[in-house]
Assembly symmetry: C2
Homo-oligomer: 340 residues x 2
């Protein structure tokens, strides 16, 4: 990591796209107007941007491709891809994306395939926190993003998921809620277990016991729609039960969609009948009524850091895992618990 200006900074200063800056820097000026070229060059000058010479240092036989293996179609991964692509473009690397569809076997076959294709690196959001690297994979730099692997020594870029779970739960506790339900994804992935640990810690720090009936896990083997459905079904069950919780946390975007479906169907007023916290950035969080309080993850930054790691590994530098912070964006979906 360093604080040198990036291609992204130049693009912003010049008011053009990253692709355009890349074209000017790489001398591919065919479709760039003289005016745009001058703007880019002025921005390069004023920021003191130093273009990378990485592309000329590529190991021979490499493909100039970076493979990003995502587990499902959560738009969170699109945001990670943005950051990843921005930095990779500076190094003349193209990022290709493919989904493992939550299948561990498919994931491993894809790694085989990309290692054979001689991609420069693989960025992986692993299907499970248990993965043993095959010997033939070790010649290709692999980093994980969003999720970690416990059983192998693979550098990762993650957020502090335990703190994220803690922070969301604490916010609801401070509003007086004591019956807080939580929608969690597949327990096989590290983000799930860490967010769960933060939730439990916050309850225990407030002398509350953890009630397994208020925790729902999705078995996300069948992908995107199955996770949404899992969030919907658990929320519906909780809110139609005798001891309905007064607050609910959905620990990813897909689970959040499912919870909102259930609220709508049951005509539950968010911020009144239920206090609700979701996860991840989405334009909908702000245009929804009421606007939704969420744990925001720095998704694009995760992608940028993953790109930096693979560049370092390609240069045979020592790569160190990175952990970023989340931010609780407080909007209108949580209210003080009514005394009954």
């Amino acid at each position: 990591m360093n604080n040198n200006p990036t291609l992204h900074d130049v693009a912003k200063a010049a008011g053009v796209s990253v692709a355009t800056v890349s074209n000017v820097m790489n001398g591919k000026k065919g479709q760039v107007s003289e005016k745009t070229k001058a703007k880019v060059e002025a921005a390069v000058e004023s920021l003191g941007y130093q273009p990378n010479t990485y592309a000329r240092q590529l190991k021979s036989g490499q493909s100039n491709l970076v493979a990003f293996i995502v587990p499902d179609q959560n738009p969170f991964f699109t945001d990670i891809l943005n950051g990843l692509t921005t930095v990779c473009l500076e190094y003349n690397l193209q990022v290709i994306v493919i989904s493992s569809e939550e299948s561990e076997q498919r994931q491993n076959e894809l790694i085989d395939l990309f290692v054979k294709q001689r991609v420069n690196a693989i960025v992986l959001a692993p299907v499970s926190s248990h993965l043993t690297l095959k010997d033939e994979w070790k010649k290709t730099p692999i980093v994980t993003v969003d999720r970690t692997i416990e059983t192998s020594d693979v550098p990762s870029v993650t957020v502090n998921n335990q703190a994220a779970g803690y922070q969301a739960t604490k916010h609801l506790l401070e509003l007086g809620h004591t019956s807080i339900a939580i929608l969690l994804a597949n327990p096989k992935i590290s983000t799930t277990t860490h967010r769960q640990a933060g939730y439990e810690q916050a309850l225990m720090d407030n002398q509350l016991t953890v009630d397994a009936r208020l925790m729902s896990f999705s078995d996300d083997k069948l992908g995107t729609e199955a996770q949404i459905r899992s969030g919907y079904l658990a929320t519906k069950q909780w809110l139609t039960s005798k001891d309905a919780p007064s607050a609910l946390i959905a620990t990813n975007y897909l689970l959040m969609i499912g919870a909102l479906q259930a609220f709508k169907e049951l005509d539950i007023q968010i911020g009144k009948d239920i206090s609700f916290i979701g996860f991840d950035n989405s334009h909908w969080n702000e245009i929804y009524s009421p606007a939704i309080t969420v744990v925001e993850q720095p998704a694009s930054k995760l992608g940028e850091c993953a790109a930096q790691l693979i560049i370092e590994m390609n240069n045979d530098e020592l790569a160190t895992s990175v952990e970023l912070s989340t931010h609780l964006a407080i909007r209108a979906s949580c209210a003080k618990k009514n005394e009954r």
Copy 2:
């Protein structure tokens, strides 16, 4: 196109993922339980599914990869990818995705790259309807999806965009609206010009004149966020003007987000102060209040048809362009025009 059962049908009948069926069919049963294997085999039997022998017929030197070049991060393309991947998996083809970021030069460089990588085919959502194929590209099957190319003879899979624009406009006209604004994307792409033509035709069929002040085009060169902002700015300008329209159509998902941002900021009640029609499927359309009337495109089906086309082209069969229909999903965001 044929009506034989697909891998998707087998997966549905067996209650497992497409990836699992593919693993069973390809004899990769390592991680599949005996019980699951039996379920898949029973479904294959009862549906009379015939596995494809395509993989064994591959031309030598091909990579088993299909490249899907998208222009931006509209989730619509994720839905297309779903259908594309489902069919490609049946043929043991892996789909990789990459974004051209609305840059024609970048798009053409990506085509160069993938032709050199010997991908089996390229599925392209072109940045512009004007593209001349280079000679060296002609050995690789290319099909366009969503958008067409006017200047070259490339098979395409599209929806009837003119009918979609007509249908949305007609719905508003039937509710009594005569001042109908429309948010359109970049005029360089075929979807834009065809949706615009449908809108104009519907007005003319009702003896209304087309008012250029009620049409806004986004120059989407700067990507996803720029399109959202374009929808936001145009909507805000219309709704704060003296002659505010009583109805608005947003002709894609990103423009729709921008319009909703403006409604929220101006405290405009949808279905009351403004009648609103969006585009494309999204879970949010139904959980939003009021639920949003949209033109639904068969996105996944577009992807499936594109896959069928490339398989046909790989087999040196004659490939014919496909046009699918859209559907107006009527919800609660449009109301009868009040007489004033």
